[in-house]
Structures are given as C-alpha cells and as structure tokens.
Symmetry: C2
Subunit: 429 residues, 2 copies
C-alpha cells in the first residue's frame, strides 16, 4: 500500500494496472519477502514513464533531492519511514551528520536539505550539516525563502571518525551523489555508517548495473503475477568505449541503438502499438539530465553535429563521458495542464512516502523532461475514495498511483540488489 | 512525530505542551531507546484527558475497536505501521486470522472489523475472519452500510493449530477483548502467534497493573525531560475485595478515595488550581465504560443507592466486579461544537496512526464520556502548518496534537511493560 495520490492521467485503467490491483495482496507479500533478503537503500527516488501499454522506471536516484517538493501532508509518512530506517542502521543513534551537494546558491536544493533535516530531527536525531566545500571554514548560516535558516559547517576529521565541531555522529547521510569522486575525508571511517554506501555515488555507480539488477527483479516479479516483464522493463544495452569528441565508438553505439530498436519494434508489433519506437542514449554514470539524447534511428548517432557531440561529452562536475547506456524510450502519455509530465516517486527505506510530477511545457512525449524549463507539481492527497479496490471504479486516480508505487518499489529493490553486487570486497583483517 | 490533527482545544498552549515541543528530539530518541527494550502491543488506543494543567491517559485499550472512525487520510500511515508490526512477528506470513467481538448486529463495530481487515490485506496478507460465536456454523456474509460485505467463518481447530476451512494462519489477531474468559479453542496453540497475547484480554488483565507500569514509565520520562510526573500521570489506588451488591469493602473504597483525593488536593494547592478534585471508580477488569462512577467525596461511596450499586456490580459479559481502581479524575477542558470531548489516539505497533474525539453533549467536564449518547468526531488532518516548531505559533493545533501523541505512546509503552510483567511463565519443556 502506498499513499493515495492524485495522478494526472485520467484515461481508462489499462490491463497492466488492473493486474497490479487484482494481485495487490500477492504483490505486497512478494515484496515483503524480498525485503527479508535485500536491504533497501536509506532513501531513493524513481523517475517513471507511463505510456499506458508500459509503465517503467527510467532512472533511480539514490541521493534524492526533492523532498521540498513533496506534499506537506506526506510528512508523517516520511517521518514514520525514516524511524524504521534509522532503527535498522543505528537504533541508539543520537547524532546524524548530513552531507549535502555543494550547491549553496540553489535555494530549491537548500530547501530540500532543510526538509530532510527536519524529517530526521523528528525521528529523534540531532542533525547537523557538514559541507564538503573548502570555502566553508566556519559555521555559515544561509537564509531560506521560507524564513528558515540552514547552517553549513566545516567537516572535522579525526583519525578514523568524521563530524563537525563538538559533534560525533553515529551515521553520515549523504545527499551528495559524489559525481566528482569519493572525497578522501569520507574514506576509511571506523564504526560510522555512511548512508547510502560510498559505492552508491556516481564516482562508482553505473546505470547499466542498476538496470541489469532491475532485469532480474522485473523477471521475478512478472513471473509472480503472470505478466510479460517487458511491460515494466525498458530494454537496454551498453557501449563502454565511447568518445563523442573524437567520434570513437560510433559503430558500437549505432549497432546497439539498432538492436534495442529492433527489440522494441518487435514488441510494438506483438502488442499492436502504433507509436514510433525510440531509444534514449545516456551517460552510464550521469545524472541531472545531462548527457542525454533521444534517438529514433541508428543512423542518427553516426552523424552527430558538433553541438550534439559537445552536449553528450560531459556531465555533472565536468566528467568526460566514455560509457553510455542505450535505453528503450517509454512515451509518457500523462499531462498536467496540457504539458508533458512524468511521475517521480519518493521512498524512504522500503516505503513510498510521496511523489510529484516533473512537468515540461516545452517537451514532447518522447523527450527527456529533466531539462531546463521543467517544473514540479506535487501529487496531492486524494481525499475521497480511500478503498480503491472496494468502492471505486478501477480507473480512479488512487488505483493508478498504486501501480506507480509498485514499479517504484521494484526499482528500489533493484537498487538494493545492485548495491549488493557492486559492494567492494572488505579488506582482509 | 505523529500526524498533525485538528484539535478541539484552541486555548493557550500550556507549559506542559511547550516543554514537549521544546524537547521533541530528546523525546523521540528516548522513546526509540525504550522500544529497543520493550515490544509494543500489536495495536492499541488510548483515551486521554486534557485539563490544560494536566494531560494524562485514563484508559489504554489493547483491542481497539474504532478504526472505522479514523480519518481516511491516515490509511497509508496505518498500513505502513502494520507492515512494520507484521515483519516483527511473522515476516513470512501469508495468512492472518482475525477474531472479532461477537457483536454481529453492531454495524459500527463491524465496519471497524472491515477497516482492520482492509489495512491488513494491504500489507500483503490474506485475511479471513473467524468467529467465536457458536451460531456461526458456515461462512456467513454480513452486508455493511458502506456496501462492503464481511464474511464471518466458523473456527476450525486441529490438534495444535487454529484456522478456518482451508486456511492455516501464521498469526491470529484478536479484536476480541476476552471479557468472557479465554476460550479453550485459543489455548495451547503451537507455533501460531496470538496477537495481542491471551493475557492482554480482560479475563486476565487489570487496569491497576497497567497504571502501575505507567507510573514507572511516567517517572522515567518526566525525569528525562524535567517535568513533574504528576502532570502526565493520574494518581490511583486499588481495592481488591469489593462486593457492591452486598456492600462489602465500602471502607476500603472510602479510605482509598480519600487518599487519592488528598494527593490531588495537595497538587492543586501546589499549582494554584481552582477546580474541585474528583476520582473515578472503575472496575479493575472492566471496559466499554461499564462499571464507572465519578466521586467527589469519600462519603459518597458509603451511601450508594441500589441503582448505583447495580450499575457498579456488573460489567461486560455480566462479570461480577470485585476489584476496583480508584483513579484521579482529570477534567477535560476540550469541547467540540460546545460539547465536552476527549481525544482517543490510535497506535499500531509504536506508531501513532490517527485518532478521534469522543464527544458527549449530555455530560460535564468531570464525567465519563464513554456512555450512551456519545458520538465520535474524527480528528481531521491539518492541511496547513506542517512544521510546528518552525513557522507556527506554539498554540496551533498541530503542536497540541504532538503532545497527545507523546502521552499516548507513553501509555503504549506502559502496556508493553505491563504485558511483560504479567506474562504467564512458560511451561517447562
């Protein structure tokens, strides 16, 4: 069960969503069993695309940055879930250190940090915020638009422990995706939990590892409830030695684009879908919607112009792109106020705690919406109709959102499997 | 953190509530530590009385019967909490048997059962409802006012396991308070969890054991946050050999009433409270608001008339009253639409999941409201002002409700301690 939310899509509920609803007890039980085997990441968010015939995750973020965009009505759910998460890691914790991104001028991001700190404080933790920025040399208050003040403090490292002045945390929660690499100050810590673990950061993480884990999760789940796994899983492929500037790896890219498009075309034929297949080429270690390109034909990647090549070459923190994932594109058929929208679902531990729509008025249904010009529409609590499977017609919004919560949790489970598989081996004692 | 609710009281926030708010991080941490030591009951509800100068539990119910009265907006919180509770008891559970009270004609109660079954199903359990009623010989559908149907089934006992036809539950959840005694069919079960345990039922349970445990919890908590424990704890005493019909034990009763009134009078003097102290005499094993009497002077219990004696003699299921608790009365200064109101807070596991007001238009601020003529006003979600300690003035309703959630959880913790202390010794293997 997940919170009931107002969704943008009001069309008829499709077979896929219907089979989720009919199997909700089995689904919840199956997930419960999975969480006995796999520890969910501390928190996550999942970008979904819903084409009606397909509902799939296209990106899973392990350093979610939009807690400020969640509907305030979800705050108690966030706190309850965070309580459960913290009990698991360090039940006797008093102090938690939060390490945010280095965006000290992004007021939206800073409100996310404040919201996150607030959630954590309500679970009974003292929370202080340690900055990786070298220019933060003393506690630095930053005023937020809502009247709150956030204090960034310089990190203090003892031999084996990290904190801020006069503050010894039990756990360190990263809200920094480590795109710039793993800072030395975070390595070799003794008896302090780092959440999520360092290898969850983009210095190490690869989308392709995530979607390989998702393949397995989606197959197991689809078998459990008797659906074609393709209905929830975007096909993908990887090229590992690409250099857009020097036009290296174009053949690999074209061949893989063609292969993924072939899979999609075959599926569209099977289901009688009258849409143009497309793929999305993304940096395998990228985030923030940077290094992303929509492609409808393999030839397109051979003839990239300079501007396109530049766009694809570099992602956040100026990192060079050399590995790309070629992912089946999933059309989004949801709109909010006539603009194309994709749902983003937020989770703490294994619980769905809210979500919002990423909306872009200037983009089409087969384009990346994580781009300048986007905005967010919080998903609202549904006040009526709280018993979706009982009193409501099946295409009511709460029923649709149940399906979103299921697929997002499958992605969260895939992240758990991915982090297990990619965990560095412990050094011998 | 608890859901933010609209409270009836709009008077100034008093010292007590302010100190809860100021210490909320320490309170949550202290509670987290307590839950490491003590397992909360599966679910509970707590009747609170708020006199402004005092906020205290007056009854803790381990078989809560008003889930239908909770605001629908709280359903996700209920499901999330139930997930956490079930994982603790039998994480691999598929099947749960719910055993309700025998009130087959009380439509309100049956809606509570339906709501409870719904919450549990959403956690991924198959739920069936087994009735203790001898007249239920075959699956019996009962139509509810909201259009749902509840099916009561006859219990089936194998040698060591209980279920219904074709259904082997891992856990048995009692929503029957066992006032009539522990049915043999529930005893000697092998490897099936009975939740709450049989000794939580009124066949065994005593209010005095609960409030003795609450004494300890309230003292520890009060020390932790630096308040006088009396501010959250009603004084009480017990008489163990009372027979109202035969006027036995009147002296014990009068002496204890006098003693409790003395304690209260002294406290009222200390705090300069200009109210008339009173005590509430209740059956130590009673429930449903039966066997309850308000007393302002020790002499009153000597001169009980026949009607009063009859009222006090017998509680639910016709049980004779022989033990009574004499509890300090806490005035309720809350009103809803000008009627006297007391908050009832619902918990699943250690989480507050909602609540409502018990309102009685015909009763005074020092009377028992659990009586014919009462009705319920669901506590509504507060849509604005979700950051009580930050942007709001301290007497806003969300802040007040935080205090209710704290005291209710203290009562829940006391129930955990009480159940540990009163657990029957295991038979030697």
């Amino acid at each position: 069960m997940v919170p009931h939310l107002t969704t943008a899509l009001s069309g008829p509920l499709l077979d896929l969503e219907r089979s989720f609803l009919e199997n909700s007890t089995a689904i919840e039980r199956w997930l419960r069993g999975q969480w006995l085997e796999h520890t969910p990441p501390f928190y996550s968010s999942c970008d979904l695309r819903n084409s009606g015939f397909k509902l799939a995750p296209v990106d899973t973020n392990l350093f979610p940055g939009g807690f400020n965009n969640l509907n305030p009505a979800f705050l108690p759910l966030c706190v309850q879930a965070a309580m459960a998460a913290i009990e698991k890691f360090c039940p006797e914790a008093r102090n938690l250190l939060l390490i945010p991104e280095n965006h000290t001028r992004n007021q939206f991001y800073l409100q996310n940090v404040a919201q996150l700190a607030d959630i954590l404080r309500r679970t009974g933790l003292n929370v202080r915020i340690g900055s990786l920025l070298p220019e933060i040399q003393a506690p630095t208050p930053i005023d937020l638009p809502n009247g709150q003040t956030l204090v960034l403090e310089p990190l203090k490292r003892n031999r084996r422990r990290l904190g801020v002045e006069g503050f010894e945390p039990c756990a360190i929660l990263l809200n920094n995706d480590l795109s710039a690499g793993i800072p030395e100050i975070l390595t070799g810590l003794d008896e302090q939990y780092v959440l999520p673990p360092l290898h969850a950061g983009w210095a190490v993480r690869r989308k392709s590892n995530h979607f390989a884990a998702y393949d397995q999760v989606a197959n197991d789940f689809a078998k459990e409830i008797g659906i074609d796994p393709w209905r929830i899983n975007p096909a993908f492929s990887v090229c590992r030695s690409v250099n857009f500037h020097e036009r290296q790896g174009e053949e690999c890219l074209a061949a893989n684009v063609a292969a993924v498009l072939d899979i999609v075309r075959e599926k569209y034929r099977e289901y009688g879908i009258d849409e143009t297949p497309y793929v999305v080429v993304k940096a395998d270690a990228g985030t923030y919607g940077m290094g992303v390109m929509t492609v409808r034909d393999a030839d397109e990647v051979i003839a990239l112009n300079r501007k396109q090549r530049n766009k694809m070459s570099v992602v956040k923190e100026g990192l060079e792109v050399s590995e790309v994932i070629i992912q089946e594109g999933v059309h989004t058929f949801e709109t909010v106020h006539e603009a194309v929208a994709e749902p983003v679902v937020y989770m703490i531990d294994r619980y769905v705690v809210g979500g919002f729509y990423r909306v872009h008025t200037g983009r089409g249904k087969d384009e990346n919406l994580n781009a300048p010009g986007m905005h967010f529409e919080p998903l609202a609590f549904q006040t009526c109709c709280n018993l979706p499977d009982a009193g409501c017609s099946p295409d009511d919004p709460p029923n649709r959102f149940y399906a979103y919560g299921v697929v997002a949790r499958l992605a969260c489970l895939a992240a758990a499997v991915e982090l297990e598989r990619t965990a560095p081996e412990l050094e011998p004692a």
